[in-house]
């Protein structure tokens, strides 16, 4: 047994996603199993004068068909993604919404984002500075702020306890989910929505990324010897978390238990990750779950396909798992959906949960040749049936900000 009865346990009773390879968990998981690639030529803006012309765009997201409230129809795309993912997650949880007041103040909504409504901001600045307009749209500010997704979702479901966004670049989603987990464990709340959303694909932001020289113009091939950078994506990943007895009392279907959470900061460099920071985050998650490295079956890696991340992550896994690293299944699902930045760890947490429910490890696609410095089992190109009892999801962000989630089976 991993958990004794001395503390409150936290379970997942709903999940929802918006991704470049499917909207809704069913479509997303089916695409991951089949190894489908959601990366393609950018359609939503003109890339003629850009060096980077590819991304993982969300296709066929028609807000009027996907969203219920008028407020969300007027929101930024990033809030709309969060709204839809939360709608799916809440529906699956079976919670009665809007929450009655006795539950409303015992619930939280923490939905982060790497950068919030930046496409709204970019459009407004273009109008002001280039088109000479005298005013911005009156909703510009509300659409842009990085707490708007959290606020919209709390309004939708009557969540009246802690509600805010969190920001930690590519570790945002696990920080948000981990934050809700800790609040439940510590008795502040009984249930909460946690996750992140990102919709930052635009001409100006792509220019900014291009200037960092870390994007690949060709494709995202994590851990493969020929990898040459990451590819941006967009979407949202949201979980409904609940205290175990609370979920049981209302007869909810439990998808998984969130058994461990680790977070660290490298405190070293803005872009070069450290083995120590990444490995300590994994170790702290294991300790939190009271598990040993040998208990873990699958790691959904951060796996960005940059030269440095994939080597560093491999070394960090080796440091934590020792000889048990050999029997781990690892995959970087970013090879299929791209790098969703703040939202990445949200949809990857869903992939980890689904891997346990189906006992199936999704592949790392586009894997063409081994890299001697990346020498673990990354599940190249083909997914695999395998018993997955415990699954870990890694996120390592710019600035050296690390967050790791560890999921286990639904308690009997």
């Amino acid at each position: 047994m991993t958990q004794s009865s001395d503390r409150r346990r936290v379970v997942v009773t709903g999940h929802g996603v918006v991704t470049p390879i499917g909207i809704g968990v069913e479509e997303f998981w089916s695409a991951l199993q089949k190894g489908e690639c959601g990366i393609g030529q950018i359609q939503s803006f003109d890339t003629d004068d850009l060096q980077i012309k590819i991304a993982g765009e969300v296709k066929d997201f028609e807000p009027r068909e996907r969203l219920d409230s008028k407020q969300l129809l007027l929101a930024d795309r990033y809030s709309q993604f969060a709204g839809y993912a939360a709608r799916d997650a809440v529906a699956q949880s079976g919670l009665e919404v809007p929450l009655a007041d006795d539950k409303a103040y015992r619930s939280a909504c923490v939905i982060g984002t790497g950068i919030g409504g930046i496409t709204t901001m970019e459009f407004s600045y273009k109008m002001l500075f280039r088109e000479g307009k005298r005013a911005t749209h009156p909703l510009t500010l509300l659409k842009t702020i990085g707490s708007s997704a959290a606020a919209h979702v709390s309004i939708e479901y009557g969540i009246k306890g802690p509600c805010y966004g969190v920001v930690s670049a590519c570790s945002t989603a696990p920080h948000a989910i981990g934050n809700v987990y800790r609040m439940i464990r510590e008795g502040l709340i009984d249930l909460g929505i946690g996750g992140a959303s990102e919709a930052s694909l635009a001409w100006g932001t792509t220019r900014a990324w291009q200037a960092m020289r870390v994007l690949s113009p060709d494709g995202i091939w994590p851990f493969s010897g020929n990898r040459n950078g990451t590819v941006l994506g967009e979407g949202a990943g949201i979980l409904v978390l609940e205290e175990l007895e609370h979920a049981k009392a209302r007869g909810a279907t439990i998808l998984a238990e969130l058994v461990g959470y680790g977070m660290t900061s490298d405190a070293a460099d803005m872009v070069n990750p450290s083995i120590e920071g990444a490995s300590m985050a994994m170790q702290i998650a294991l300790d939190d779950a009271r598990l040993s490295p040998g208990d873990i079956d699958y790691i959904n890696a951060h796996g960005t396909a940059t030269t440095v991340n994939d080597i560093n992550e491999t070394r960090a896994i080796r440091r934590v798992f020792g000889k048990d690293a050999e029997k781990l299944s690892i995959s970087a699902t970013k090879s299929m959906h791209g790098h969703l930045l703040g939202a990445g760890g949200g949809i990857e947490a869903v992939a980890a949960i689904q891997s346990m429910r189906d006992n199936f490890v999704p592949p790392t696609i586009g894997y063409a040749e081994p890299d001697p410095e990346c020498d673990l089992d990354y599940t190249p190109n083909e997914g695999r049936k395998r018993e997955v009892t415990y699954a870990m999801s890694n996120s390592f962000a710019f600035g050296g900000l690390n967050a790791v989630l560890l999921f286990g089976p639904a308690p009997a």
Partner: protein
């Protein structure tokens, strides 16, 4: 050193915390304590100064960025190329 080389050395020095007294064409960039993010900033600065675009991906090892001299050669080649295509247009 010619004009292009002098400007490039200036840019390199501007982006170093403690620039050495002498930076020559043979100096390897690796000796100048320039890391990946510094290089992205330096490339930006060079592009801005000369009005050119330099293809550079931090994930790939590129010979053009081995020494100060190789950067100068690369920049000169791109300047010549863009002048040629400008004249043709």
């Amino acid at each position: 050193m010619d004009d292009v080389a002098t400007k490039i050395v200036e840019i390199l020095k501007k982006n170093m915390k403690e620039p050495p007294e002498s930076v020559g064409l043979e100096t390897p960039l690796a000796d100048l304590d320039i890391e990946s993010l510094d290089l992205a900033v330096i490339v930006f600065d060079i592009e801005d100064t000369f009005g050119i675009e330099i293809p550079y991906n931090a994930n790939e090892e590129v010979e053009d960025f081995a020494t100060v001299g190789s950067v100068v050669d690369k920049v000169k080649a791109i300047i010549t190329e863009s002048k040629a295509s400008g004249a043709a247009a």
